[in-house]
């Protein structure tokens, strides 16, 4: 077995157990809500249209949007919003199948049931549910498969799942991880589907032993799958649990992994929640659901503080530290030393042929160029500032995943990209970054933020202080490059970075 695969499989117990717990809980809640609701709908005709319509509408909301919407609605991240989103998302097949299953029963049978003296509940329990069971269970199977698949999207809202493989794998170009994650999710879906199918078969054939055996088997398998969770949450090692957050790009994976190793060595018990959206992560920090993560001064300035002006110079760090503490009791422990700013990058050949060094040199060419960036950049004030300052007028603006931008410029799909200055790919794809003489782009110093609760944890602060001001842009870039281009794993790269900063 290759080392890469072994490394990924080592993560499986954790991811899979979370995934199983999330999926089965959502399915169970879904069944408990949907079956009675559907039964009610068959009794109260007036409810049929509204219930079916609402369930259908919920269904059309893209899974990832549904998950993301739950976070502001509930004001928290993690398993709960994921759970609620999954339940809502999976209701339609169960409700629809139960309603049609019951309404399709031959009316002479329900009449015979009434004529025998059954109450409405008895008809439901003794006649309608057993007769509609195959259709109802088909709906449950559909929902189960959906839930298993959609649960992989729970990663960005801070719930660990098999999606962690997929999200981090895509970001760090680790396709082994993507394949392990997808294959595990597919296998889980198939196994669950077949188990439910077998239970249904046993029930319809009245094979009691088989039905009970299968149910017990499913239960045992579920418990086995979730057992790492018990160990995780019940292992009373006495160590303090610290949750480290990370956004969705390589640098964040590497930094969170390095912090995790440092803190584990310092005797903390660590959970890393990676692949989280920027705003979700900051909210989680203010709610004490995440204890620490690395954010960038420009992001804090524009996104959280909502300042329209583009700050210049060193005042930023001072101002945002004060703002974070005053508004959110969040402690900014300090800058890590490097900056990861947006920087416009173009192919070296084009730059040299046309003598382009700064963004102002680019403006006259922009009329014939397409620009690519991550999902955020064109929505940020600094883009407006950059565009207006240098009178940029690109023919097209294309948002895409950050990890795909380099391939895009390499294939001439775009001609200029908003790179992150610490991207290892800049050099690897033979691009040059342009200077910003007018300082239209704000500084993006990497800063370490601590949640209100963690702010009073002296031991934690001490343990983390060792990395403040220690990481140079060169070191960060080479750590990113190791992952993005040299096929190193995140944990190898994190170890390398840790060695580099402590050998200074």
């Amino acid at each position: 077995m290759s080392e890469r695969l072994a490394e990924q499989l080592a993560l499986l117990p954790n991811y899979l157990s979370h995934h199983i717990a999330l999926t089965l809980t959502a399915l169970a809640i879904g069944i408990i809500i949907c079956l009675p609701l559907a039964a009610l709908v068959t009794r109260v005709k007036a409810l049929q249209w509204p219930v079916m319509t609402i369930a259908s509408i919920l269904q059309t909301i893209p899974g990832i949007a549904m998950l993301a919407l739950m976070v502001p609605l509930l004001g928290q991240i993690g398993a709960l919003p994921a759970l609620i989103a999954l339940v809502l998302y999976s209701m339609l097949p169960m409700i629809r199948n139960t309603v049609t299953g019951i309404l399709d029963i031959d009316s002479s049978l329900t009449e015979a049931a009434r004529g025998s003296g059954m109450t409405s509940m008895q008809i439901l329990r003794l006649v309608e549910l057993p007769l509609a069971a195959p259709v109802i269970i088909a709906g449950i199977r559909t929902s189960a498969v959906w839930i298993v698949g959609t649960a992989t999207l729970a990663t960005p809202v801070g719930a660990t799942s098999l999606g962690n493989y997929i999200f981090s794998g895509l970001q760090t170009q680790n396709y082994t991880a993507v394949i392990v994650g997808s294959a595990s999710a597919a296998a889980l879906a198939i196994i669950l589907d077949q188990f439910i199918h077998l239970i249904e078969y046993a029930a319809s054939q009245r094979k009691k032993t088989l039905a009970i055996g299968t149910s017990v088997g499913l239960l045992l398998l579920a418990l086995l799958g979730m057992s790492p969770l018990y160990e995780r949450y019940n292992s009373n090692t006495g160590a303090e649990r610290i949750v480290i957050g990370a956004k969705t790009f390589t640098e964040q994976y590497v930094l969170s992994e390095m912090m995790s190793e440092i803190l584990t060595d310092a005797g903390f018990e660590i959970e890393v929640r990676s692949g989280m959206g920027s705003t979700i992560l900051f909210e989680a920090l203010t709610n004490n659901e995440v204890d620490c993560y690395v954010d960038y001064s420009g992001t804090i300035w524009a996104n959280y503080m909502q300042r329209k002006s583009v700050p210049k110079g060193d005042t930023v760090l001072v101002e945002l530290t004060k703002w974070l503490m005053d508004q959110h009791q969040v402690l900014c422990l300090g800058a890590l030393g490097f900056e990861n700013t947006y920087a416009l990058a173009i192919p070296r050949e084009f730059a040299e042929n046309n003598k382009i060094v700064s963004v102002s040199d680019l403006s006259s060419y922009s009329r014939n160029m397409k620009m690519g960036s991550d999902y955020e950049f064109f929505g940020r004030p600094e883009w407006v500032s950059l565009r207006d300052t240098y009178r940029l007028n690109f023919t097209d603006l294309v948002s895409m995943d950050h990890s795909l931008m380099y391939a895009a410029i390499n294939e001439d799909a775009v001609n200029v990209i908003a790179a992150y200055s610490t991207d290892g790919s800049i050099a690897a794809f033979d691009l040059v970054t342009l200077t910003d003489p007018q300082q239209a782009l704000p500084p993006y110093d990497a800063t370490l933020l601590l949640s209100p609760r963690a702010s009073s944890n002296q031991r934690l602060i001490e343990a983390l202080n060792v990395i403040i001001g220690k990481i140079t842009a060169e070191e960060m870039r080479s750590a990113n490059k190791a992952v993005d281009l040299d096929n190193r794993s995140v944990s190898e790269s994190a170890k390398q970075l840790r060695r580099a900063i402590f050998s200074q």
Binding site: S108, L109, E111, A112, A113, R114, G115, S116, G117, M118, T119, Q122, L126, V127, P130, L131
Partner: protein
Amino acid sequence: MINLKNISKSYDDEATFAVDSIDLEIKSGELLALVGESGCGKTTTLKMINRLIEPSAGSIEIDGENILALDPVTLRRRIGYVFQEIGLFPHMTVAENISITPRLLGWSAERMHSRVTELLQMVELNPDGLRNRFPRELSGGQQQRIGVARALAVAPSVMLMDEPFGALDPLTRSGLQKELTRLHKLMSMTIILVTHDMSEALTLADRIAVMEKGKIVRLDTPANILQNPGHPYAQRLLETPVNQMNALTKLLQQSESADSQ
């Protein structure tokens, strides 16, 4: 005693009436046959008596009690009903089908078991061979007999039977007809029997009600109706069995004279 007073049922907001102002008194222990051509309102009348259908107008009393004021569930548990479509529950065994009402009434398992045996014997089926079969594993006639057994399960004082013997061969049919007469006498049940078979009505019933287009056009004993049909439609209904009988007698005479030659 069952007393229908001015009962009407319209399925279309009183544009037409499936049952049209029926007055009918059935004495306790009486077997009343309800005859009439397809669509004349027999099933509708029967279902109003156990409130599977609510009448549009009029009132129904059983033993002096207004049934429209009773809890329909309790009412139905006291009345046996044999459905025209039989309506056996496909997911239940023969035994479970028969003991459905006893189960609702909370009988013990042993009591239900012995009752099922008793009833299967009563409808001339083999209890050991059939009790654990599912309805789909039975012939049409067997299913119909299970339907009758199910209606008889709690020995109700009122039985409503909607063509209970339709799918039976003549021998089984006459066997069951005899059995029904015996039970009727024995348990002094009040029975309303819907049938298309005029000779069945003539031989089994204490009285016959002839329906046409939602109305009762003739109500009398079989003997009186035979003697004096009194209504053109009753006359026509009688023609079939009488013609058959005449044809048979003629055949018999011919074969006798052929024998004696």
